[in-house]
Symmetry: D3
Subunit: 290 residues, 6 copies
C-alpha cells in the first residue's frame, strides 16, 4: 500500500468529502456487523475494525456488533481439561460447556471488545442474550441430541434500541436463554441475521475469512459481486455455494426475506473492509439482495 | 417461622399497607446493594434476594446491584491450575489472573444474576466497570507490588443512570479499567461505596455474613444498631471494629462522608434482610450515619 | 384475626414478595374502583380503603375512584327540610334536589375523600362530571318523569388521563351535565362502568355490602366466584341475580362488553378486600368476565 | 352604551388589532383573578366575566380564578337552620359551619363556575385548597377563638401549575386544610394574594363592588388610579383607606411585596372590567404597585 | 368609518369577547394567506395586514404567508434595462430574469415583510422555495417555451412545519427550484394553493383587488358569497368567472379538492378584510367550498 | 496533486479513520465559518466548500455560515447605474444602496448558497439579520456620515439555535436592522465574530484570500501558525499586521476575548482548507488564541 503520509492534505480532504453521499445514505440507519474470523484474532485488524466501528457510529449510523468466539472457547475448554464429544461433526454442549461458553463470550471476548472500542473513543456497552432477555432460545431440534445448543425463537430488541438511543454501540455476544434460565450456545451468524431482521436493519455485514462468493474457490478473480436470493438454490446445486458457506448464505437469505435491504459477505482479512463496503460503490465482497 | 399460608389474607393485606410509608419514603430514590457472601451462594437465599430486588424496583426505587465473586474466582483459578501467590496475605494478581477475574465476574456471576432476576420478572442488565468506561482504576498504591489490583479513581455514572432511566436494574461486576485498557481487580465493597457516592444514593446496603457490628462478636444480642461516623475511631480502638470489618466500615464511613444518607451492614444469611431493613423501622443490622 | 405484630419480619417480607407477580401484572394498568356502601361509612374501613388505594397507586397502578353518596344526600335533604317525592320507587329529582346532590357529592363527600387520601400520603384530586366536561348526560328516558335524573351519553376521558399522567389519583363524584349546564344525578355504578370502558381499564371493582353473587343469598358458602357475561340471563331467570343486583350486574356486563378485562363485585365490609382481590389469586368476591 | 351591532366590521377589526400590544405583553404570563361581589351574583355580569376569562385564556394568558362565596354560605346556613355566633363582628366557625362552607364553596359555587366556563368553551377544572394539598392552613391567631377560621401557611402550587400546563383554567375555592385533615374557612382576598405570590403571577386582579380607591368615597371622580405600596400607611392615616378596604389593600401590598408586578382593584359591576383593565391603557380602577 | 376612539371601552371589550367563538374554532389550525395586490402596495393597508397577521398568530392560529411581487419585479427589470419578451401574453423568463425575480422576491419583498411583522411584534422568518428545498418545480409544460417559468411538482412542508413549531410566522416567496439548482418563477396563487393542500390547512385566503366573485362585475351588490366547487364550470360557462379569475378560481377548486376546508377570495383593499373574514360570520368576499 | 483515483480503497479508509479524533473533538460543537473572497467566486472552490460544509454538518458539527458579497453588490449597483460616493475610502450607503445590498445579499448570494448546499445533500436555510430580528444595528459611529452603515449592537441567537436544533445549516447574510425597520450594511467579518461569540462557538473560521499572517507578506514560508491575542499589538506595531488585516485581526481578538476557543484565518483559495484545518493537526493558516 502507498504510505498514508504521502497523501497530501488536499487529497485526504477530498477522500473525506467523497464519502459524503454514503454518509447521507446511511444516516440514522441501522447496520448489524457480525464480527468474527481472522479480523477478531489479528491485533492490527482488530484495531482497525474498532476504528471503523467508532467512525460509522460517529457519522450517525446505528451500529450493532454481534460476535461469537470459537477459538477462545476451544482454548478455555482445553485449559480446564474439558474434552469435547462430537455428534455428526457438531460439538455436544453439556451444561459445563455451556457455562464455559457463556463465561468466555460474555465475560472475556465481549468486554475486551468494549474496552478496545473505548480506547478508540467509542461509547460501547457489552451485552449478551441474557441481558433484558434479548435472545430467547429453545433446545435445537436436531436428529441427535446436541445438549445445550439452541435455536433462537425470539429477539427482544428493547435493550438494543434503548442502548442505541442512549448513544451506545451495543456489542452482543451470542449467548441465549430460555424461560427456565438455561443457557444455550447459538450460532453467531444466525443470531446476527435474526437480530438484523428484528431491528429492521438496513444492512447486515458478515465478516469472514474468504474473499466472498467465488465461482472458482481458488480464483479470487471469479468473485460474484451480487447474488439475488432467488439465485441461491441454483448456485448451491452448482456447488458454488457449498460446505460451511451453505448455512452462512442461508442466514443471509433469511435476513433479506425478513426485510434487511442488503447483506454483505466481506473479507475481514482486508483492512477497513467494512468501511470500504459501506463508504464506496466498489463492493469488495459479495452482496446478497432480495 | 410461622407458615406463610397460615397468615390470613386480611393480615397479608395489612402487611402490604404497613409498608406504605417506607415505599413513599424511598420512591424514586437510589439504593446501592453490595451483594455478596452467603446470600450469593445459597440457592434459596439467592432466590429470595432476587425477589426482594425486583420488588424494590417495582415500587419505584432505583436499585443498583454491585457484586464481587471471590469463591467463583478461586474455583476457576483452581480449575485452570493457576497457583496463587500471596503478598502480605493479599493475592498477587498477574495478567492471567486478571483475565480470569474479568471472565468469571463479568461473564459468569454477573450474567447468572441477570438471568435469575429475569426469571423473577426483573428487567436487568449486566454491566462491568469496562462498559461505558464506568470504573476507571489505576494500579493500587501498596507497599509491595500486587500486580493488577486497582484503586478506583473515577466513576462515570452515565451508563448507570442511562440504564436506570430506561427502566433496567443495573447489575455491576467490579472489574475496572484504565485508559490503556488494562483490567484491574478492585475491592467490591469499595466499588459499591464509590458508586453509591457518585450516584448520590440515599442508601448503601452491604450484605455480609455477620449479624452487624457486635460489641461481643460471639453474642448476637450485643448488636450495635446505630453507629455515627465519628464514633468509628473509638470503636476501632476498643477492638469492636477489627480484622476484616475495618476496611468494610471504612467504606461505609467514606460513603457517608460523600453524601450517602445511611449505610447498612446487614446479615445476608437472614432471608429478606434487605427488604426488612428498608421496609420496617426495626433495623436488623447496623446502620452507619454521618 | 391474628395480631399483625405477631407476624415475624421475615414472614412479612415474604408476604411482600408474594405480591410481586400481581404488582407486575397490573403495572401501569388502569383500575377503576367504584367506592360505596359500608366501606364509605365505617371510619376504620374508610381508612383502610384509602391506604389500599395509595398503595395501589404507588406500585404503579393507575387508580381511578368513582363514588356516589346516597346516605349523605338523604341526610342533607332532610336537614334542609326537603321532602322527597317517589315515582315507582325512584326518587324524583327536582332542580333543588339536583343542586343538593351536586353540593353534597362534589363539595363534601368528594373533597373529604381527597383529604383522607392526602393524610395517607396520596396525591389526590377531586373531580366531578362537570370538570373538563367529563360526564355529559341527558334526561333519563323513563316512563314517568324523574326530573334531573340523567343517562350518561359521553365520557370525556381527557381530564382523567391528564390528571393520572401528572401523578394524581382522580376521585370522581358522579354528577353529570349537559350542554346547557343542567346538572343531573346519575347512577354511580353506571358511571363507574362507563368511565372504566372509556378508559379501557383493565379492571373495574365494585365495592358492595354483599359477599358477592350467592346461589343461596342466605348462605355465604354458595358464593359464585366466576360468572361469564353469557351466563347472566340464565342466572337472572333462576332468580340468583335479582332485585338491586340486576342493574349492578348489568353494569358489569356492559363494562366487559366494552373491553374491560374483568369486573369484580367485592365485599367492601371486609378490610382490604380490594387489595386482596388484586394481590392474590384467592378471589374473595364474584368476578365477571367476557 | 352604543349598540354593538352599530359598530362596523372594520371598526371591530381595529378594536381587535388595538389589543395586540396587550396580548403580546401578557403572553404566557400568569394572572390571578379574585372573583367576587356583584359580578358573581348578577347573571349577566357572571356571563360576561366568564367570556372574558375564556378569551384571556385563549390568547395565551395563564388565568387562575380564586373565589369565595359569602352570600351562598349565609343562604345555606340559614336553610339548615344554623345560627351564627359572632365574635368581635367576625363569624365564629364551628365544625358544622366549616363543613357547610366546604360544601357550598367547593361543591356548589365552584362547580357552577366550571360549568359556566364550559358553556362558553373554556376548559376549566374546579379545585379547592384540599386538592393536591394546595392550601395548608392553621387556626387563625386571633385574640378570641374563632373556631375553624384559618391562616394560610403554605401554598403548594404543583396542582395549579400541572392543570395550567395541561391547558385547564383552574377555578379555586378558598377552603384550606391542615395535616390532620381539619378544614378551615380562609379569607378569599388573602388566599388570592398568597396564590398570586406563590405562582409569581404578573398581575392580581381583585373584583370588588366599588369603583376603586376614592379620595372622597361618595365621588367617583376622585378615583386614585395608581397607589404605591409605600403610600398606603399615609392614605390609611388620612382615612382614605378605611373599613373593609384596609384588609383588602393589605392583601394587595403583601402581593406586591412578594413579587407580583401589579395589583388591580377593579369594579366588578362594570361589564368586562377585567378585560378593559388588561387590554387597554385606560385603567378603570386603582392599580397598586411596588 | 366611525372613529375608533368614539367607541366605549365596554363596547370594545364586547367586540373582543364576540371574537371568542372564532378564536376557538381556529385554535391551532393552519391558515395560508396569499398576500398580494393593493394590500401589498398601499402603506397603510400593508401595516394593517401585518397587525392582523400578528394577531391571528397570537391567538393560536398557525399562519403561513405566501407572496409574489409582480410590480417590484417589473420595477427592477426596468431599472436594469431588461426588456421583456411576451409569448401569448405571458412574460418569457430567461435566466437573467429568473435571477432578478429571485433577488427581488426573496431578498427585497420577503425580508421587508419580515421586517414589518417584526415591528408589530411578530416573530417572522423569511423563506423561499429554495430553503429546505421547499418548492420543487419543473419547466412549465406550455405550448410555446416560456423559459424559467415552472410548475410546482412537490412541496416539502418540513421547513414550514419546523418553523411554525418553533413559533415563527413563515413568510414564503414563490421562487422554486429543481434538482439541478435551476430557479423558476412560479405563480403565487398556485403556490399558495399547493402549500395549503400540502399543509392540510383549514383555510386558504386569497387577497385580491376585487370585492369577490360578482354576478355583474360592475355591481358590488351582486357578490356571490358562497360557491361550491361543483358550480364552477357552470359559472365559467356563464362568463361570471372569466379572464384572470379563471386560473385564480382553479387554484381555489384545486385546494378544496385536496382537503382544504374553505378558500376565501377577499378584497385586500378593505382594511382588516382577513380578520373580518375569519373573526365574524359576515363573509365579506366569496367563499369556495367542496 | 496526486490523482484521487490512484489512492487505494484501503488508504482511503485509513484517511477516514484518521479523521476520527477530530470528529470526536468537534461533535455537537458550534463552528462559525465566515465565507468570502475567492472561495465564493470560483465555481470549483464554491462547490468544494459546500461539500466540506455538508460533511462537517453530517458528522455532528453545528455549522453556521456567515457571508457578505462585495463583488455582487458592486455589480448590481453598476447595473442599475448607481454611482457610489466614497468617504475616507469607505462607500457611503444611502437608502437606495442599502436596499440593493439587502436584495443582493439576502435574495441572491444567500439563496444561491442554500441551493448549492441542497444539491450536495445539505439541509440549509437562508437567513439574514432581519429574520427573527437576529442582527440589531445602529448607525455606525464614524467621524463622517456613512449613511446606512451599521454597528451590530445585539445578536438574537434564538433563530440560529432553533434552526440548528431542527437540523438545518443556517446561512446568514449580513444585513442588519434597527427597531424602526431601517436596514444597515454591516461588515461581514465583524458580524461573523459577533455571531460566534453570541453562540459560544468553539471555532470561528475566516476564509480569506491570503495564506494567513505572514512575517514577510511576499514569502509564504514566513507564515505565523499561532498568534496569541496578547501578541497582536506588538505584531501591529511591527507592521506584520497592517492594512486590511488590522480590522480582520481585531474581529478575531474580539471573538477570542468573548469566549470563542480558537479563530482561524485560512486561505480559501486552497481547496478543502476548512476541512483540513478542522480535521488535521497541520494547521494551514494562522490560529488566533486567547
Amino acid at each position: 500500500m502507498e504510505r498514508i503520509k504521502d497523501i497530501s492534505n488536499s487529497a485526504k480532504a477530498q477522500v473525506l468529502t467523497d464519502a459524503l453521499p454514503y454518509i447521507q445514505k446511511y444516516y440514522n440507519k441501522t447496520i448489524v456487523i457480525k464480527y468474527g474470523g481472522n479480523a477478531m484474532i489479528d491485533e492490527q485488524l482488530k484495531d482497525s475494525v474498532m476504528r471503523d466501528i467508532v467512525l460509522l457510529s460517529l457519522v450517525g449510523i446505528r451500529v450493532v456488533v454481534v460476535h461469537g468466539g470459537g477459538p477462545e472457547i476451544s482454548g478455555m475448554l482445553k485449559r480446564v481439561g474439558k474434552e469435547s464429544r462430537f455428534v455428526n461433526g457438531l460439538r455436544y454442549t453439556d451444561k459445563e460447556t455451556a457455562e464455559i461458553v457463556q463465561m468466555v463470550l460474555a465475560g472475556k471476548v465481549n468486554k475486551d471488545l468494549v474496552s478496545l472500542l473505548s480506547q478508540h473513543g467509542g461509547k460501547a456497552i457489552g451485552l449478551c442474550g441474557i441481558d433484558g432477555k434479548m435472545l430467547v432460545a429453545r433446545k435445537a431440534d436436531t436428529e441427535e441430541d446436541l445438549g445445550y445448543v439452541g435455536d433462537i425463537v425470539e429477539v427482544n430488541t428493547d435493550i438494543i434500541n434503548d442502548t442505541l438511543n442512549c448513544g451506545y454501540i451495543p456489542i452482543i455476544s451470542t449467548v441465549a436463554t430460555d424461560n427456565e434460565g438455561n443457557v444455550y450456545n447459538v450460532n453467531a451468524d444466525t443470531a446476527a441475521s435474526k437480530i438484523a431482521s428484528a431491528l429492521h436493519a438496513k444492512n447486515l455485514i458478515l465478516m469472514t475469512d474468504i474473499r466472498g462468493l467465488l465461482r472458482d474457490k481458488d480464483d479470487d478473480s471469479t468473485l460474484i459481486p451480487v447474488v439475488k436470493a432467488s439465485e441461491v438454490p441454483s448456485l448451491t446445486k452448482q456447488g458454488i455455494i457449498s460446505g460451511g458457506m451453505i448455512p452462512k448464505v442461508d442466514c443471509c437469505v433469511e435476513a433479506v426475506r425478513r426485510g434487511v435491504d442488503r447483506v454483505f459477505i466481506i473479507d475481514g482479512r482486508v483492512q477497513h473492509s467494512a468501511l470500504i463496503e459501506i463508504f464506496s460503490n466498489e463492493g469488495i465482497g459479495t452482496m446478497l439482495i432480495g
